[in-house]
Point group: C2
Chain length 356, copies 2
């Protein structure tokens, strides 16, 4: 069994804390450990460091390795170029298959938060049984807690086996819905959040790629002889940028008859923007919350502050996000937290590389 | 002729930039020089360092001396306790009188800004003539530019001499008016802003103090033998805290028949709060202004930022003041900039001395 941590995100939604070389998964947004470290910690009871693999951008690989000193050398795979999730998952499966083709990969995003670890582990155990017993590709679907418009959804098909209410075939994948559709999904009870967590045998994924993504499978076959060897980086440099740029959902799962979904009820957040921290930091009575410093609020409520340990004095302002780093200050309303991407675009346009 | 710089302010209105030991006059709020340094620079064409005296709080004296290395030792007088402006002006007059009782003192606040230096100097020259020719106490009155409610006013009496339209007797001092009264003052044309700038011969002020503040005059007389000597600090420690706590306006000027006001038209700001920086920093087209860093504004206008050289990214927020220092962040609406004092009070209540 292997944990495969997908740490390819170069997300800009936590600017100015997140940067090109310090993406969200490397930030300690809650407590002292980064989201990546927390993800590895969370899997430690199931997979030791020797069975943990991280796939990340080549330029971020040194920072990733630094955060995970317990990982053996060579278990941080650097993508020379971001090609979406299908090549990344395929690369990891190829690497694992070289050790043991029958081994199960538990594929997890590096930048999500999970609460309720026991339930998380039980859910993964169930997913592994399904992946092993029928050579299935298993995706986890989170029971929605509200009408979210920020996630894709997995529509449940029939129960996969009688008496197994938590394991289903998949009727369809749906992109992020509008508000009305999200409400229908929530009420209908047959749509689950697509959290990007998967379980499969390494060889099963590679077989399904051969069928549904032959070009990708061919590229991976070219890579396999070099994985773990001295030519690995060079081979990746040559082959990886030519791989089809496609998600694992679109590229493989949607097309596969071996797909199953396991319903999951553990606490989960994709930590999608500063706004998400409203749930994850501990707010005071007025709803003001800070990552790591004291808030002194006078007639101020619902503000989210990340100020590098500074005392934050807020007077007469409501529902703002305020972030201070060594070289930048960001202020915007919480309901516009997603728009921090516009700042990053503008910085690019102005050529302000030092702030990217 | 001596410049007497009154640097006793321990103002909290520029928190978190201003602190107990780093009051407003020591801050470089505009450009590279502090308000105190700019005040001394501005007087340099009239008075060399040997004729420049600063009165400040004893605990701030080291920082003041450090900012003004050109001043001869002993010309920063430290008040062991703040006793308002009458004792400070009296102390300076006593010090100057020891050098030359006939010398004229030009008394100026350390924490104001003046623009139009030539006109400023001409106005002071005129005030000195008035102070010298008739042994007058002269106060400057600034022609109001708007209906300000944040200043005291000087009501003009009759012209002091025929053909001298800029020199008047004083009919009355008025405290900060309400908005309607301020508008009447502005329209009436007979009320000038009280800027706390004065010109008088040292001995004339001391004479008038003897008449109108005999207790204060007695205290000063006790101090005089020790000024400039090795016992100065000790004498101040003993005598100063017992001096009457009263302003020079209330304590002496209002009572004196020798008072004259000279009308002044140079540009002046008392730099009363962060809000004042809207005029003093250069705003962009959307009215966003920063002390020393770039502002990247997206649908944001009228914001004032002091972020220690950081890039400030503002999205969808208007008319805020945002200040970042090494250990604090302040955010509040511009129209509530005065309320930063409430933050300082709260910090005191919480015993957070490191932030005061």
């Amino acid at each position: 069994m292997y944990s495969v941590i997908m740490a390819g995100g170069s997300g800009t939604r936590f600017w100015p804390a997140s940067r090109r070389l310090r993406p969200k998964q490397l930030l300690a947004l809650t407590g002292g450990r980064s989201l990546l470290q927390q993800t590895v910690d969370r899997m430690a009871p199931l997979t030791p460091p020797e069975q943990t693999l991280v796939v990340t951008g080549a330029d971020q690989a040194p920072a990733v390795a630094e955060q995970l000193p317990e990982l053996p050398a060579g278990q941080v795979l650097g993508e020379p170029q971001a090609r979406n999730t299908a090549p990344a998952a395929g690369l990891a499966a190829a690497w694992v298959a070289l050790q043991d083709p029958e081994a199960v990969c538990i594929v997890l995003p590096a930048d999500h938060l999970v609460t309720g670890e026991a339930l998380f582990h039980r859910t993964l155990q169930r997913a592994m049984e399904v992946a092993r017993s029928g050579d299935h590709l298993v995706t986890l679907g989170i029971t929605p807690r509200y009408a979210a418009t920020g996630f894709g959804y997995i529509e449940l098909g029939p129960e996969a086996e009688a008496g197994e209410p938590r394991v289903h075939q998949v009727a369809a994948f749906h992109e992020k819905p509008d508000q009305a559709t999200a409400r229908d999904y929530l009420e209908g009870g047959r749509h689950l959040w697509n959290a990007g967590m998967f379980v499969w045998r390494a060889k099963v994924l590679l077989e399904e790629m051969l069928v549904h993504q032959p070009e990708l499978a061919k590229g991976l076959a070219e890579l396999i002889p070099h994985l773990g060897g001295p030519e690995e980086a060079q081979a990746l440099e040559r082959v990886y940028p030519e791989l089809p740029k496609i998600s694992i959902d679109h590229g493989v799962l949607e097309k596969s008859s071996r797909l199953r979904v396991v319903r999951a009820d553990f606490g989960w957040s994709d930590v999608g923007s500063w706004e998400a921290m409203a749930e994850l930091w501990e707010p005071d009575q007025a709803g003001n919350a800070s990552q790591d410093g004291e808030v002194l609020a006078i007639e101020a409520k619902g503000n989210l502050v990340s100020a590098g340990g500074r005392l934050a004095a807020l007077v007469g302002v409501d529902n703002l996000v305020a972030v201070v780093t060594d070289d930048a200050l960001l202020i915007l309303p919480r309901h516009r937290a997603q728009e921090v991407g516009r700042v990053v675009e503008e910085l690019k346009a102005r050529g302000k590389k030092e702030h990217l």
